[in-house]
């Protein structure tokens, strides 16, 4: 059934336009790939990003300062406080990992001595 009506399935717009689409797709693909790999695109992309980041920076910094001051006034920990805490926890994890490794080595040594 579906095979017989494949060429004229009115509920499959992509199917109806498939031949046109396939012909154009390769051409579009090549053109777009060439475009995004051009120096003009790279330059424009970098410039736009730069402008956006530069112009938004003062507003972002003002917002961050305001939030930090508000949190500090209310005695609530800020993101920086949590980041410092996370850093300390990772350091503790590292020390525990070193201890774990030493314990492993000691147990292996004990096992070898018992076998010997």
């Amino acid at each position: 059934m579906s095979e017989k009506h494949e060429a004229m399935n009115i509920f499959d717009p992509t199917g109806m336009l498939k031949s046109m689409r396939d012909t154009g797709m390769e051409h579009w693909s090549k053109m777009m790939t060439e475009f995004v790999h051009s120096d003009a695109y790279a330059e424009a992309n970098a410039e736009m990003l730069n402008v956006w980041l530069t112009t938004s920076s003062p507003f972002r910094k003002a917002m961050e300062t305001a939030v930090d001051q508000s949190l500090s006034a209310m005695n609530i920990a800020s993101r920086d406080d949590f980041m410092r805490l996370a850093d300390r926890l990772t350091n503790i994890e590292m020390r525990l990992d070193d201890l774990d490794a030493k314990l492993d080595a000691w147990m292996r040594q004990q096992g070898t001595q018992h076998q010997g």
């Binding site: 059934m1 579906s2 017989k4 009506h5 004229m8 399935n9 009115i10 509920f11 499959d12 992509t14 498939k18 689409r21 797709m25 579009w28 693909s29 777009m32 790939t33 995004v36 790999h37 120096d39 790279a42 330059e43 992309n45 970098a46 410039e47 990003l49 730069n50 980041l53 530069t54 938004s56 920076s57 972002r60 993101r79 949590f82 980041m83 996370a86 850093d87 990772t90 994890e93 590292m94 990992d97 490794a101 492993d104 080595a105 292996r108």
Partner: protein, 365 residues
């Protein structure tokens, strides 16, 4: 019997129209579900052995008895900007599953998903803080003094630096997959060209976001081949929506593609400045925590897999390392395909995995 079945092609009966309507509705429903839901990926059974911060070391449950397994364990190190599930995409099409079935004791280092608190993590930390601890744990668990390591994409970059800085840690075999190491040619590939622009300033991005947002990494990767990624992929799904095997494969891959993660800000800044812009690794000027990374000190057996149609890591970025390493046993293997396709595409099981197995098996006992 309908008119069309009588051979009068082109004439639709009301019954045919209704059937097409139902089919189209079903297909649209399925299409929407596939775009908005996650497939079950990374299903090979594994056991968590070690954690540090967000990083985790897993051991995949072996399926062969000890006497049939290779003696040298294999550690998989994936990139820091994606989830490692692509190595174990779906049952019946999984590199991990394949290697386990071929007698390897497989371990996976999952770097995890960095949070805002990880914005200061650099490649220095990955290479000299995390990876040596993972290796220490791996050796402790397996009792083996030697191991093999497979690094993919930025995981290959970290693996190469580690192998150069710690040549006496027991690394016997190093496998690099699509390794971005040499950035001499600033016009090779879109990424090199984009980030080499004087106006492209990674510091401003990191100042704004802390970490490099996964959405920006994803958008950049997709823009390397905009039509294929933003249009062609979905048309391909629609064209094959009634083929269950193709749909399953597409859904699993799309699940992995959608699972985007940020890159720690300091690591991103380092990647752009010290690697892409200044090419320090290949120039021999890269210093990690005060230690100069000399590729000549890398002595492990080396298997360098290059994807010939890689638009993320063009072949030229992976080739020159072969002339600089100190390895006596080294081989380049070129595969037709793209960055991900060579390991997770439909042809991977025939074109890539067996070659990795053959090379590694000869050096794993």
């Amino acid at each position: 019997m309908s008119e069309s079945q009588n051979g009068q092609a082109g004439m639709l009966t009301f019954e045919d129209v209704c059937e097409q309507w139902h089919q189209a509705f079903d297909n649209l429903h399925k299409f929407n579900r596939l775009l908005t839901t996650d497939a079950k990926v990374a299903q090979t059974p594994k056991q968590l052995l070690w954690t540090l911060n967000k990083a985790k070391l897993y051991r995949y449950t072996p399926v062969l008895p000890t006497e049939q397994r290779h003696k040298i364990p294999l550690l998989l190190v994936f990139a820091v900007m994606n989830r490692p599930h692509v190595l174990d995409l779906r049952p019946g099409h999984s590199f991990v599953e394949y290697m386990i079935a071929h007698g390897y004791d497989v371990y996976l280092l999952d770097w995890g998903i960095p949070g805002p608190e990880d914005c200061e993590l650099k490649y220095d930390d990955y290479t000299l803080e995390y990876l040596p601890r993972v290796v220490r744990k791996l050796k402790s668990v397996t009792g083996a003094n030697e191991f093999s390591m497979l690094g993919w994409c930025l995981g290959a970059l970290i693996s190469t630096m580690y192998a150069s800085l710690r040549p006496d840690d027991g690394l016997r075999n190093l496998l690099l997959l699509t390794a971005p190491l040499d950035f001499t040619d600033k016009n090779a590939g879109g990424f090199s060209r984009w980030v080499s622009q004087p106006a492209f300033d990674p510091d401003k991005i990191i100042d704004a976001f802390g970490n490099m947002p996964g959405e920006m990494i994803d958008a950049g990767a997709k823009m390397l081949k905009p039509m294929e990624n933003l249009v062609g992929s979905y048309l391909n799904l629609w064209d094959n929506i009634e083929d269950p095997s193709r749909v399953e494969a597409w859904h699993a891959m799309n699940t992995w593609v959608r699972d985007i993660i940020p890159m720690p800000g300091a690591a991103y800044r380092q990647l752009i400045t010290e690697f892409y812009k200044e090419n320090r690794l290949i120039e021999g000027t890269l210093t990690i925590r005060g230690e100069r990374v000399e590729l000549g000190r890398l002595r492990a057996n080396l298997f360098n897999v290059i994807a010939e149609s890689d638009h993320i890591t063009p072949p030229c970025q992976s080739e020159r390392v072969m002339d600089l390493v100190g390895s006596q046993d080294k081989e380049v293997f070129r595969v037709k395909g793209g960055h991900i396709g060579i390991m997770a595409g439909r042809g991977a099981e025939k074109n890539t995995w067996p070659h990795i197995d053959t090379w590694l098996a000869a050096r794993s006992d």
